[in-house]
């Protein structure tokens, strides 16, 4: 073990944890004032629920010794055998620290989805959905890519979770948006953000935490983490710029929310590529991410589903672009693998296959889970409650008395 690696992974774990409160205020600012707490609650309570699942059975399903490439076995049930010894996934740090770091990823993934069903989902339905989705969708997909499962073995590259986290949650968000239907007033009322400064601050916290996310995924404090950090900064900045340029071009004005959204889109896109590409590639990945995700959001308006906080456009589309971009820009000198532009066209195919598998699995399973939850408790609050807002109807609270 190596105290430098441990120092960095302790920090990175804390930073990734901090992303979830960051997400809470990022999303919280985007909804109407009457839903701010209900929306933040989704993220905050995920920090609790997923921690419990993780210890009980999540870690062993995701990272227990592999069973046929599909799932981890039950060796680590209740974290038995997961302690202070080094390995098995990273030689420089204690097993429990790897487990802590990965827990933070498991927390934020279902929390990301909540943007899609914001402002109208029952709290009880959200809880059951989160428990089921994390257990049935996240843990397996995580295993497939990082835990010794078939996607990783196949050679799919996913440095910090473009497929596991962003495509996975983005696609689930799409299904949720369809199942829940539009918010009351969609298309007629102005369902606009109530506190954009809060959202921008949230984006800032996400950006900060993302260094832990991406550079931490190197699992050691070395050159890989260093390059991952640099390209993370690059892609985020470039996507913020390209998003507002696209806005300027299409709608005549660049917006602050656009800059914040662009930054997140860039962070999403660089996630799978972080340890595999260099700075100039990161510029391109970022610039494209800003434009593509912006266009995806414009397209949404025409497609008629109400993905309230644009999880699909940013995480789904951005994650997909990132997965493919990894297949294009990966460079052996950086991360040991080449992509199409460095002479290895096969990698692009593998990336696409990996993404496709995740998409299909996530779509199907999310749909099934939503059906079950709907049958159990009903997905959506009633009209009266939706009018009142989630804060009062689900939690008997109000956000502000200013």
């Amino acid at each position: 073990m190596n105290s430098g690696d441990i120092a960095w992974m302790l920090t990175a774990s804390a930073m990734v944890m901090f992303m979830t409160p960051g997400l809470a205020i990022f999303y919280g600012g985007l909804v109407r004032a009457k839903n701010v707490l209900g929306t933040m609650m989704h993220s905050i309570i995920s920090l609790g629920i997923v921690s419990i699942l993780w210890i009980l059975f999540g870690y062993t399903l995701a990272f227990g010794p592999d069973v046929h490439g599909v799932i981890g076995n039950l060796s680590y049930l209740g974290l038995s055998g997961v302690g202070m010894e080094a390995g098995p996934y990273a030689s420089g740090i204690p097993h429990i620290l790897f487990c802590a770091f990965q827990l933070m990823f498991a927390i934020i993934t279902p929390a990301l989805i909540t943007g899609a069903f914001a402002e109208r989902m029952k709290f009880s339905a959200f809880l059951i959905f989160t428990v089921l989705w994390t257990s049935i969708v996240y843990f397996p997909v995580c295993h497939w890519v990082w835990g010794g499962g078939f996607l990783g073995s196949m050679g799919a590259l996913d440095f910090a979770g473009g497929t596991v986290i962003h495509i996975n949650s983005g696609v689930a968000a799409l299904v949720c948006a369809f199942f829940l239907g539009k918010r009351m007033g969609y298309g007629t009322d102005q369902l606009h953000p109530h506190n954009v400064p809060l959202t921008v601050l949230g984006a800032g916290i996400l950006w900060f935490g993302w260094f832990g996310f991406n550079a931490g995924s190197a699992l050691s404090a070395g050159t890989s983490a260093s390059m991952a950090l640099f390209v993370t900064q690059t892609a985020a900045g470039c996507a913020a710029v390209s998003w507002i340029i696209a806005e300027w071009f299409y709608q005549g004005k660049p917006t602050t929310l656009g800059a914040a959204s662009g930054a997140v889109a860039g962070l999403v896109a660089i996630t799978p590529a972080a340890g595999f590409v260099g700075p100039v590639s990161a510029i391109i990945i970022g610039l494209v991410a800003g434009v593509v995700c912006y266009l995806a959001i414009l397209a949404k308006a025409k497609m008629g589903y109400d993905d309230a906080l644009d999880v699909v456009g940013v995480h789904g589309v951005g994650g997909l672009w990132g997965a493919l971009a990894t297949g294009l820009f990966a460079c052996e000198a950086i991360g040991g693998k080449n992509g199409l532009f460095f002479g290895n066209p096969k990698q692009l195919l593998i990336q696409a296959e990996g993404a496709l598998v995740a998409i299909v699995f996530s779509v199907v399973m999310t749909a099934v889970i939503l059906k079950v939850v709907d049958a159990l408790v009903g997905l959506r609050v009633n009209k009266e409650e939706e009018h009142q807002g989630l804060d009062l109807s689900q939690h008997s609270e109000v956000g502000y008395r200013i």
């Binding site: 007033g185 007629t188 009322d189 009018h387 009142q388 009062l392 939690h395 008997s396 609270e397 109000v398």
Partner: protein
């Protein structure tokens, strides 16, 4: 001239505004108010204790019109704001003796 003060449910504001525009009424002034009446307030919880908040958010619309328009405006508001539930609100008609447009100094009916 009369001032029509309508106190309505906030989410009905757009409907009322459009209904008024349709009958040719453009000018109006709105404010956020809180109402107390028969409608039950909502429950809040803080630190384990329940509180009933019985001031309920409402919107007040003020429209000054010629006497001739009063009935039409009142009816329009009633039909646009109605949800058939307690708390739909009230309309009050108040006499106005003079109206002045600040920009031009015009008075009376010309001012509105």
């Amino acid at each position: 001239m009369k001032k029509i003060e309508a106190i309505i449910k906030p989410f009905k504001l757009d409907d009322v505004k459009e209904a008024l525009n349709e009958i040719g009424i453009q000018g109006m002034t709105i404010s956020e108010v809180k109402g107390h009446g028969r409608q039950k307030g909502h429950k809040e919880i803080y630190r384990g204790a329940e509180y009933v908040v019985d001031f309920i958010p409402k919107v007040k619309i003020e429209i000054v019109v010629d006497d001739a328009m009063v009935d039409k405006v009142v009816e329009t508001v009633v039909s646009a704001a109605n949800t058939n539930k307690i708390g739909d609100g009230k309309i009050f008609v108040i006499p106005v003796e003079q109206a002045v447009r600040v920009r031009t100094g015009e008075r009376g009916a010309d001012a509105i």
